[in-house]
C-alpha cells in the first residue's frame, strides 16, 4: 500500500515502527522545536515544572521573540527576557533577537533551519508553514513544546491526507494567497480538521517558494494538522542556498490513500477576499461590496516576504501613485533579512514616500498586539491569515484578508480595490 508524505516522514521519525498508517498513535523524534515570546513563556514554566535540567539538543530549539517584540510593554518585556535568559542558560546555538531575526515562520525557512524530511513542532499554529519545504511541521501548545524541549519527542496521531490539485495558469494579480483562500472557502475552517493537505498540480509547480510558504501557512485556517508542497527544483534551489545540515526529500507514492481529492482550475480565478469574521468567508473580489479602508496591513508570516513587498513596490513604481491620505498603511517586512533587502532595493524609501509606516519586523498588527490595533467599527484590508472577531483589535472592527496587490490597490484608492482600477 502506498504512503502519503505525512505517513512517510512520521514513519522515519517513529520510535517503535518502521511503517505507519493514518490513525496510528506513535511517539516520534523531533528535528526542530520552536516557540515564540507568547508560547515559550509558558513552555519554559512547564519545562521547569517537569524538573528536567537541560534541553534535549541545544542546536535544535528555536525561541523567536516576534509577537509582542519589540516589547510593547513591561509585561511583554518580562516574557521576552524569559526567552533570552533561557536561551543563554541552556546555551542554545541559535539565538534570535529583535533587530537580528523577525517573524518565526519567515526566519526559520529563510535560514535553512527547517528542511525537507524534518519533523518540526512549534508553539505557534502557523508552524504548518514549513510544509512548503517538505517538512512535517505542526503547531502545538506550550506544554507539548516543553515536553519536546525536554525529551526531543512528541506523540502524534498519523493524519489522514487530503489531496489538492491545481491546474491552469493564474492571471495577473492572482497568487498563492488566492489559491489557498479559495481552497479554505471551499472546504471551510474545519474542512481539513486533523488532516494533512498535499498540494500538487501544474499551477503549484509554477509557484515560487514565497507563494508556497503563503499557502502552507494557512493550512491551519482549514483546521489542518500539516501539509506539503511537492519537492522539486524550486525546493531544491531554495534549500540548497540555505541548508545548515543534510536533509532527505520524501515523495508521496502514486497509490497513496487520500480521503478526498479536490481539483481547482485557476486560469479564470479572480483575486479572493476573506470577509469578516472567518478565513472561510471567501468571495471573488468582484462579489465583495467595496468598503472604505481605515487601515491596510501588508506583512505577517503569510505575506511579509521579499516577493510580497516586490508586488507593492512594483505597483507604486508603475503607477506613480501614493497611498490614500485617510488610510493608515503599515508595511512590515517579515524578517530583518527581508527588511535589509527591501532597504537595498530602495523600497523602504519608496513605501515611506508613498505614505506608509514601515516598521521593524514583528507579528504585532496581525494578532492585535501592537503597531496597528483597530478601533471599533474600523475596517482593515490585511495580507495576514486570520480575521476572527477581535483578532486585530476591537471586537467590532472588521478585517478583510487579501493578497498584497489587492492590499496595495486598497491602500491607494482608500477602499477595498483591485489593481486594475488604478
Amino acid at each position: 500500500m502506498g504512503k502519503t508524505l505525512a505517513e512517510k516522514i512520521i514513519a522515519a521519525h517513529a520510535e517503535d515502527a518502521a511503517e505507519v498508517s493514518a490513525g496510528d498513535l506513535v511517539t516520534v523524534h523531533t528535528d526542530v522545536v520552536m516557540a515564540n515570546d507568547v508560547t515559550a513563556a509558558i513552555a519554559i514554566e512547564s519545562f521547569n515544572a517537569m524538573g528536567v535540567g537541560e534541553v534535549y539538543n541545544k542546536d535544535r530549539i528555536m525561541l523567536v521573540p516576534s509577537h509582542f517584540a519589540p516589547n510593547k510593554d513591561i509585561k511583554s518585556a518580562e516574557q521576552t527576557r524569559t526567552l533570552t535568559m533561557f536561551a543563554q542558560d541552556q546555551t542554545l546555538t541559535n539565538r534570535f533577537q529583535v533587530g537580528r531575526a523577525g517573524i518565526e515562520h519567515v526566519v526559520l525557512p529563510e535560514r535553512g533551519l527547517v528542511l525537507p524530511g524534518d519533523l518540526v513542532v512549534g508553539g505557534d499554529s502557523h508552524t504548518c508553514t514549513y510544509g512548503a519545504v517538505g517538512a512535517f511541521s505542526t503547531g502545538m501548545g506550550s506544554t507539548d513544546i516543553a515536553f519536546a524541549m525536554a525529551t526531543g519527542k512528541t506523540w502524534l496521531k498519523v493524519p489522514e491526507t487530503m489531496k489538492f490539485v491545481y491546474s491552469g495558469t493564474p492571471k495577473q494579480w492572482v497568487y498563492g494567497k488566492d489559491l489557498i483562500l479559495r481552497t479554505i472557502g471551499e472546504i471551510g475552517v474545519d474542512g481539513a480538521l486533523y488532516r494533512s493537505m498535499e498540494f500538487t498540480g501544474p499551477a503549484i509547480n509554477a509557484l515560487p517558494m514565497s507563494e508556497r510558504l503563503t499557502m502552507t501557512n494557512m493550512i491551519i485556517e482549514a483546521g489542518g494538522k500539516c501539509g506539503f508542497m511537492p519537492f522539486d527544483d524550486v525546493t531544491r534551489e531554495y534549500v540548497e542556498a540555505r541548508a545548515t545540515r543534510s536533509y532527505t526529500p520524501y515523495f508521496a507514492d502514486d497509490d497513496a490513500t487520500y480521503t478526498s481529492v479536490h481539483e481547482f482550475e485557476v486560469s479564470d480565478m479572480e483575486p479572493q477576499v476573506a470577509c469578516p469574521y472567518s478565513p472561510d468567508n471567501v468571495h471573488p473580489i468582484s462579489e465583495v461590496k467595496p468598503e472604505k479602508a481605515d487601515q491596510v496591513f501588508i506583512g505577517s508570516c503569510t505575506n511579509g516576504r521579499y516577493e510580497d513587498l516586490a508586488i507593492v513596490a512594483d505597483i507604486l513604481q508603475k503607477t506613480g501613485r501614493e497611498f490614500h491620505p485617510d488610510v493608515r498603511v503599515m508595511i512590515i517586512p517579515g524578517s530583518q533579512a527581508v527588511y535589509l533587502a527591501a532597504l537595498r532595493a530602495g523600497w523602504i524609501e519608496l513605501f515611506t514616500m508613498a505614505g506608509a509606516a514601515v516598521s521593524v519586523s514583528t507579528c504585532g498588527p496581525c494578532l492585535g498586539g501592537h503597531m496597528g490595533v483597530l478601533a471599533s467599527n474600523e475596517v482593515c484590508v490585511s495580507t495576514s491569515n486570520r480575521n476572527f472577531r477581535g483578532r486585530m483589535g476591537h471586537r467590532d472592527a472588521r478585517v478583510f484578508l487579501a493578497n498584497p496587490a489587492i492590499a496595495t490597490a486598497s491602500a491607494i484608492i482608500g477602499r477595498l480595490a483591485h489593481p486594475d482600477e488604478l
Binding site: 517537569m50 509582542f68 502545538m140 501548545g141 506544554t143 472577531r389 471586537r395
Partner: protein
Amino acid sequence: MDFKFDGTVWKYGDNVDTDVIIPARYLNTTDAATLAQHCMEDIDQVFAQQVSPGDIIVGGRNFGCGSSREHAPISIKGAGVSCIIAESFARIFFRNAINIGLPILECPEAALAAQKGDRLSVDLIAGKITNHRTGETYQASPYNGMVLKIIEVGGLVPYTRNVLGINITN
C-alpha cells in the same frame, strides 16, 4: 484529578476560536487568574463575571480553532470551568486542554441537545454525559492510550515527571 462533574451549561456555537476565548491583548501574561478575568470576552461579555465553579462549556464544531495559545484552555480552567463538551475540537486546543488537565469530551449528540442553563453530569473516564433536563444519557468516545494516561495523572507535566522518573513535590 476528579473524573466526575456536575455543572451548569454555557452554550456556544460552531468554530469558537482562541481569539474570542482569550484575545491576544492579554497574552502578555501567563497568570491563570488574570487570563480568567477576560475569558470569552469577545464572544460573551458576561461569562467571566457570572461563571460559577464547576460550570460546563458546551460548544459546536471545531471548538478552539485558531491559535496554539495554551492561554485559551488556561483561561477557561482558571475561570473554574470543570469540563468542555463539543461536537468536535480543533486539534491543538484538544491537546492543550488534555495537557493542562482541563477535561474535554467530544460528543455531538450531547452538545447539540444541551441548552444554556441545563444541568449536566459527566463521567470523564466512562465518557458518559447525562442531561438532567431531558433525562438523556449520551456516550462520548472514551479516552485511550497516552491521552488516558495523561488525564489520569492530571496533565503532561506530571506525566513527564513520571516517565522520566523525576520526583518533585509541589
